[in-house]
Amino acid sequence: MKKNALKKLLRHHDPYDHTGTDQWFTEALTANAAHHATHCASYEDILKQFECDLSTIQTVEDIAQIPPLPTVYFKRHQMHSAPLKKMVIKATSSGTTSGKKSMIGMRYKDLYNGFKMIWKLFKYHKLWSLKRVNYFIFGYEPTKHVDLVNMKSANGFTYVAPAKKRIYAMRWDNASGGFKVDLDTMKEGLIKAAKQRHPIRTIGFPAYTYFLLKAMQEEGIALQMPKGSLVTIGGGWKEFYTEAVDKQAFYDLVKQVLGIEEKNIIEFFGAVEHPVVMPDCEYHRIHVPVYSRVIIRDPETLEPLPKKAVGIINFLSPMNQTTPLTSVMTDDLGILHEGCECGLKAPWLEIIGRVGMKDIATCAQGAETLLNKTR
């Protein structure tokens, strides 16, 4: 019976209708937790350690009782409810200095459910299209050499509208055995695309997109992309933090260099440890889709906080049955808001930043390394 809850959740017509899906979500979530507890002994141990009795979780208010696993746990332990060989995608999070990476698995079932989720969400955001587009991917060219979730998702995204051409910013270089950034080819491609009738879509790391556009701006390039062109960004917000690019400045830059309006810039918020994609609304707010619930927790006590309070972001989702991502505690601080000019009633998430002081300064030997490890 509870298994049907996830199906119902995925079948629900409005991907932002929380009220209408709270119960299904709760049921799907406890079923997901139970599934992992059955197949993954260490997950079961943790439920026990925190005295979490799944049967007492009845309403959406109760889901906070499921002990969240911190992302650092996934980085330091491998934890799966399915054998490795059954996984079709083994996603690893990138960008940690210490080299520690989260290992997240997905099976066909998860992929299929994920597709249903994306179908609904993209439909809502009018991203599906039959018109052929030129893709500019600020990410890695697909290759057998590397296994990065960003690469997979960026490439998968090029099927949302049929591709005329795909140009990658990071291309595999056999000589060096690594990726090389090739922004020149991107630039030339963009200049050419502006003269054609096919819309373009850019995809990928905001930092690279920004660097290229900034360089083009300095060269005095101002293009007008074909109607229907989109700039999509996502997959790695850390770069954005450290470059401290003001979002509005970025939107203005896109408008000036590519002639694409702010409303046609779409950001996707996501995390390797959370199996739900979150496109922003036209006001660039990250509304939580029904496949996910967000709890903001007290930075000192980890107790759930009310709306508008700053705390650690805790994602909950029943979408992955391979790795226990049921309730995941991120390293990010955020605020959950209600009400948005775009009309969506689903709460929206404001990201404040990463825990830990940025550019922390210390001379205690080894501490830098340690701090990096925990980020």
């Binding site: 550019d359 210390t362 205690a364």
Partner: protein, 431 residues
Amino acid sequence: MILYQGIIEENSQLKTRLASLKDDCYETLNHAHPLETDWVIQACNQLTQKIIAKQFDHIIQPLLTQYDIPEAHFKHYLKMFSQEALEQKVAFELNPQSMKTTTDETHERKLYPLGILFHIAAGNIDVLPAYSVIEGLLAGNINILKLPTGDQGVSVTLLNALIQIEPRLKPYIYVFDVPSTDQETLLQFSKIADAIVVWGGDDAVKAARVMATANTKIIDWGHKLSFAYASLDASDTDLKALAQNIFSTNQLLCSSAQGIYVDTRDYAELDRFAERFFNIMKGMHADYQPVPLGIRSQHTLELYYEQIIQKDTQKTIFKHREFSVVACRDQRLEPSLLFRNVWVKTLPKEAIINTLKPHKNHLQTASILASKDSYHSYQELLIKAGVVRIKAPNEMSYTHTNESHDGMLPLRLYTRIVDCVVPRNDLNHKK
């Protein structure tokens, strides 16, 4: 920012300046009046007066706030740059009298600067890069300084202020803001320099060693670890004094206590000790400015993680909103989570050397919290293990007059002894 012979410039001038740097340094060696220690001392003294007179509050005050440094500590540090303190430092470290040979008039021995120093500064405290250059100047050297990443301009401001006071320092100070990744430029600096003075972590030290040619000296002031050593009967007074060090430095300094080693083998006793220290911290924390929310959140997460894996580690965790004490079951010397998160570990007296000696040059300060009868034997063992400073618990991060730096005298390392024969003509004897 670039500071080049008294001129402040944009980083875009790097290439031009790099091209002339070697020749300009050599020109100084060739024709400039050799740098006199007294110029530097007088300039520092005057700068100190100006700082006391609040002329530099626009840069000093934000620093004090950022690092939560009490005004009193700052005043203490400032005194290190007074004429009296610097004269004492030079007299103690260089001790020119000691160079005199009484036994033989046919030879002279004198200290000379190495010549050109290339300082690779670390980013932990913003005045340190300037301090390193001042030490280089006191020893008479030309100084090339690579600013740490994220430098906020304090060093350039201070060094430029020195030049304003004493323009003869101009050809002895060069500051560049080059990223650590620009190995090619760093290699050029190191080729010009007689010695690289490297501050920073193991990676920075190692990188300098790999980069430099064999005929470039490497003088490293690497990151260090400090800790407290306590017997079970440590007094409350001492524990409070230690907590004071931990609260006031946030464990960010090389000399800050990262944790406490306790002279016991008994985990139950260790846990009781940890709880006792936890309670002492609880009684004091209100006196200190709280650490930023981001940091607190990070600790909450880290300790929550520790809680999840507690079955495996068997650590006992005492957590407060603002700080924590964790009693561990291992003896590894390691940095704490910083910002008032203290580890407590067993370390019976007999195991001190075998446990700590492998860390050798990483060891710096220890405070000993023990009664009089055991104090000295602890001290001897800790010194043998490699500790170079034994301090009172609340003074671990307090620098005393004429203290060595990590066991060495910087000015000595920045100079060389030159032995000269007194030529026959001058001596008027000998065949």
